[in-house]
């Protein structure tokens, strides 16, 4: 990492290369594909939250004219069943949540398929649903899985429960730490089930050929993962299955898993026809995603001078119907913005009769850090210290020991806090019924496998063949990074997201990894091309490759006056050894954490409890912003998703366990009219492990808004907030209870 490096291309606000297709409607998303002879598949879903399936009779449905195939769990070959994932895609002998898929039907039109669903007879034995962590952990709770023994205790429990995993992480001695404290604050915090809320529903079009060769077109964050999971469930060889990633209409973690694809392939095999499946919006809410509801207890002790002496938490995460919430990442992130010696975190992964949770932007972190940041703010208030000063006094920095293992390399939390302190926002005056909240957020970011081929054309332009679905403008950053490394104009490079047959394995777009890891692969591929270009030029000039320099897209003979441009070398490639293409197939290491600090001002209507965000600033360490506009966009978008989580969004279930708000009218995501402009400040503390210093910015921005908003509300109404969302009825209740 050369600190003083001047960049020529990265840092520019270029027009994204896929933009023209996206503003004209030409870009093809999951539901936009049609194949000749294609038929339509629909899913029959459980009307109950918890029930045994005693019998399924599809005879009347199959007899309906136009119905061509039915798929059930029994169609998944037993040997290769990936148990929980397969049983979430189609229920086995038990349905575990309202909307749980039971079978698929394919028919010549979607209307006929839907009519056929009504003709299926299912005999259920309805069971009592378990809808909350407290109920699920009660001694007499009905069990979702009668064989589930809690993992994570030295002595395994002898009886089954709804607790899948218990985890403990500690550093130092929290009891001793609390003894040193002058002030101790603790509290219980609740966050509801929320959905990623991507605007594009899950969709796929598949075709199963007679020789078993198959194709899936779908909207996904990771088409190689779709290939792996689907092949696993259906017992297929990977070379038999090609997955094409369509353009993707939002994911936020929710499109890192599969729902429809194996069912569609079974329907295609049985009918001999291509099959299209598209979820309705209510299916998306009922049966995909969501993010975990949590009940978290946090206790923090500090001295009067602001030194935090101990931090403790007990975190409970709902996993939904099958184990595997992001509880562990909640434990790893809760207190990580702080350099404190004594920490103890205990976590529980709990199953309930709700859809299996999926990753949601910095999975697990917003819930745990919400509780932690609320308590940190209360500590600041109690000891009369500015909340930024309190955080600066305890901020994690280079060398800080984390609870999950390594010590931090250079990180940008202090820089973010300083930026918050110096922002016009922090100096703005508040009026009556207004309040201000501040919170910090930590997220790891990840690296992982990315594969890129850079194919040079005979005119010196090139195609960047990558395997990372572009969910928010990443093609633009790949183009800029290739340009920077090659020292050639960005428009010379066309980035494409290739299917699973045209590029080597690449992990999905998630974990804020694409610009970091796939970017590194692009850089490596570009370096490979430059190396070959130098060799070709050297051969022409009869010198060694070491005697050739590369500058501004031109090979220079240091032993003479010769020059060859990239275009000239590529044009002559046929005579110097064949066409030139570079390869960067890597497993990227050294992902750099991205810290965020947000400031939120709200105004509360004391008569209705309605909260309006009136001023908002999102600050985050990008390491290096390759395309500043899209980095700002990640900060702003994360902030607004977090604002929705804090103020309005929640799954509402009845006592019967049925979801009452599976639509955008009642599951209220933020609208343009709800919001002010979202100011963003991009901090750049370079990540030493990336050639340009990139950290990745996709996720951290959703962490701070929960506490920043909720704390602002508590300041505005002068009463404590514990439970999210701060929706009008719940805020009104807090106002009334405290007046």
């Amino acid at each position: 990492m050369s600190e003083a490096r001047e960049y020529k291309y990265i840092g520019q606000r270029s027009i994204r290369p896929d933009g023209f297709d996206k503003v004209t409607g030409r870009a093809n998303y999951g539901a936009d594909m049609t194949l000749p002879g294609m038929i339509w598949g629909k899913i029959l879903r459980s009307p109950h939250a918890h029930a045994k399936i005693k019998n399924i009779d599809t005879s009347k449905a199959e007899a309906l004219s136009g119905v061509l195939a039915v798929a059930t769990y029994q169609d998944f070959p037993t040997a290769d069943k990936k148990a929980d994932l397969a049983r979430n895609i189609l229920a086995d002998d038990k349905v575990l949540y309202h909307g749980h898929a039971i079978l698929g039907i394919a028919a010549t039109t979607s209307a006929i398929a839907e009519r056929a669903l009504d003709l299926v007879d299912i005999d259920y034995e309805v069971l009592k649903p378990v809808m909350d962590i407290r109920d699920a952990m009660a001694a007499d709770a009905p069990l979702l899985h009668e064989d589930m023994i809690t993992e994570g205790y030295a002595e395994a429990p002898t009886t089954a429960s709804n607790v899948a995993t218990r985890l403990e992480m500690k550093m130092g001695d929290v009891e001793a730490g609390f003894k040193e404290a002058d002030v101790i604050v603790e509290g219980d915090y609740y966050t509801p089930t929320v959905h990623q809320g991507y605007i594009e529903p899950h969709a796929c079009v598949v075709r199963y050929d007679e020789d078993g060769q198959s194709m899936i077109w779908c909207c996904t964050q990771g088409h190689f993962d779709v290939r792996g999971s689907t092949a696993n469930i259906l017992g297929m060889n990977l070379s038999k299955l090609k997955v094409i990633a369509s353009e993707i209409g939002g994911g936020f973690g929710g499109k890192t898993t599969i729902y429809l694809e194996p069912v569609a392939l079974v329907l295609s095999r049985k009918s001999g026809r291509p099959v299209k499946m598209v979820m309705d919006r209510d299916e998306v809410f009922k049966a995909s995603g969501p993010g975990s509801a949590t009940r978290n207890w946090v206790k923090i002790g500090a001295k009067n001078d602001g030194t935090i002496t101990a931090m403790q938490a007990k975190l409970h995460y709902e996993a939904g119907a099958f184990k595997g919430s992001p509880m562990m990442m909640g434990c790893m992130t809760a207190f990580t913005p702080y350099a404190v010696e004594n920490m103890y975190v205990e976590g529980f992964d709990v199953v309930v009769n709700k859809p299996k949770v999926a990753a949601y932007r910095a999975p697990g972190a917003p819930q745990a850090e919400y509780a932690a940041e609320m308590v940190v703010n209360e500590i600041a208030e109690k000891i009369g210290m500015d909340p930024i000063e309190l955080r600066l006094k305890n901020a994690a920095k280079e060398g800080t020991q984390t609870i999950y293992g390594p010590k931090f390399k250079a990180v940008g939390l202090v820089e973010c806090l300083e930026a918050a302190k110096n922002s016009p926002h922090y100096k703005a005056a508040l009026k009556e019924n207004q309040g201000r909240g501040l919170a910090a957020g930590f997220w790891f970011n990840i690296g992982g496998q990315s594969s890129v081929t850079l194919n040079m054309n005979p005119d010196g332009t090139g195609t960047i063949v990558e395997g990372s679905p572009d969910i928010g403008g990443s093609r633009a950053s790949m183009q800029l990074m290739a340009a920077e490394e090659m020292q050639m104009p960005a428009e010379n490079f066309r980035p494409i997201v290739a299917d699973t047959e045209h590029v080597a394995f690449s992990a999905g777009t998630g974990g804020s990894r694409t610009t970091f890891a796939t970017g590194m692969a692009v850089i490596e591929a570009a370096q490979d091309v430059i190396r070959q270009m130098k060799e070709r030029a050297a051969a022409v000039w009869n010198v060694t490759a070491e005697q050739v320099d590369w500058a501004d897209g031109v090979a220079i003979n240091t032993a003479g006056e010769d020059r060859l441009t990239a275009a000239e070398i590529c044009k002559g490639a046929e005579r110097t050894g064949g066409q030139i293409s570079g390869r960067g197939n890597i497993n990227a290491r050294g992902a750099g954490p991205s810290f965020a600090v947000h400031l939120c001002d709200v105004e509360v209507d004391r008569d209705t409890g309605k909260v309006d965000v009136i001023r908002y600033t999102a600050i985050q360490d990008a390491g290096k912003a390759i395309h500043p506009s899209y980095v700002e966009g990640q900060l702003q978008g994360g902030a607004v998703q977090g604002i929705g989580w804090a103020l309005n969004e929640e799954y509402v279930y009845g006592d019967d366990g049925l979801l009452q708000n599976p639509g955008f009218l009642d599951y209220r995501v933020p609208l343009a009219s709800d919001l002010p402009m979202i100011d963003s400040i991009v901090v750049e503390v370079p990540n030493a492990f990336h050639p340009f210093g990139v950290r990745g910015v996709g996720e951290s921005g959703i962490i701070p808004p929960l506490a920043a908003c909720a704390y602002a509300v508590s300041q505005a109404i002068d009463a404590p907030i514990r439970d999210l969302p701060c929706s009008p009825p719940s805020v009104l209740k807090v106002i009334q209870e405290n007046s």
Binding site: G152, A154, L167, E168, M169, K170, Q196, F252, G253, G254, T256, P326, M328, M329, M332, A359, Y360, R361, A362, P363, Y404, G405, P406, K407, F408, K409, F444, N445, I446, G447, G448, G510, G511, S512, R513, N587, R589, G590, A591, F689, G698, E699
Partner: protein
């Protein structure tokens, strides 16, 4: 070599010094040293070597003053 609180239940200690020239040797040494630790248990974890998280450390060389932590995989959204 520093053990997380979870692994401490199996090792009985928080840190130890071992001599290993690579990740593969390290795993063998640890499994031999702590009877309750299993090969699979360790290889299911990622490691951090001198603060750099490495998800697939199979071929990783180690030097004499390296600090190694085992930790859980982190997935993203």
């Amino acid at each position: 070599m520093i053990f997380s609180s979870e692994l401490q239940e199996f090792t009985g200690e928080e840190r130890t010094e071992v001599s290993a020239t690579s990740y593969r040797v390290l795993i063998d040494v640890l499994v031999a040293k702590y009877s309750r630790l299993s090969f699979d248990q360790l290889t299911d974890l990622a490691v951090a070597i001198d603060g750099v998280i490495i998800v697939d450390p199979l071929l990783e060389p180690l030097s004499s003053d390296t600090e190694v932590h085992f930790l859980h995989f982190v997935a993203g959204g």
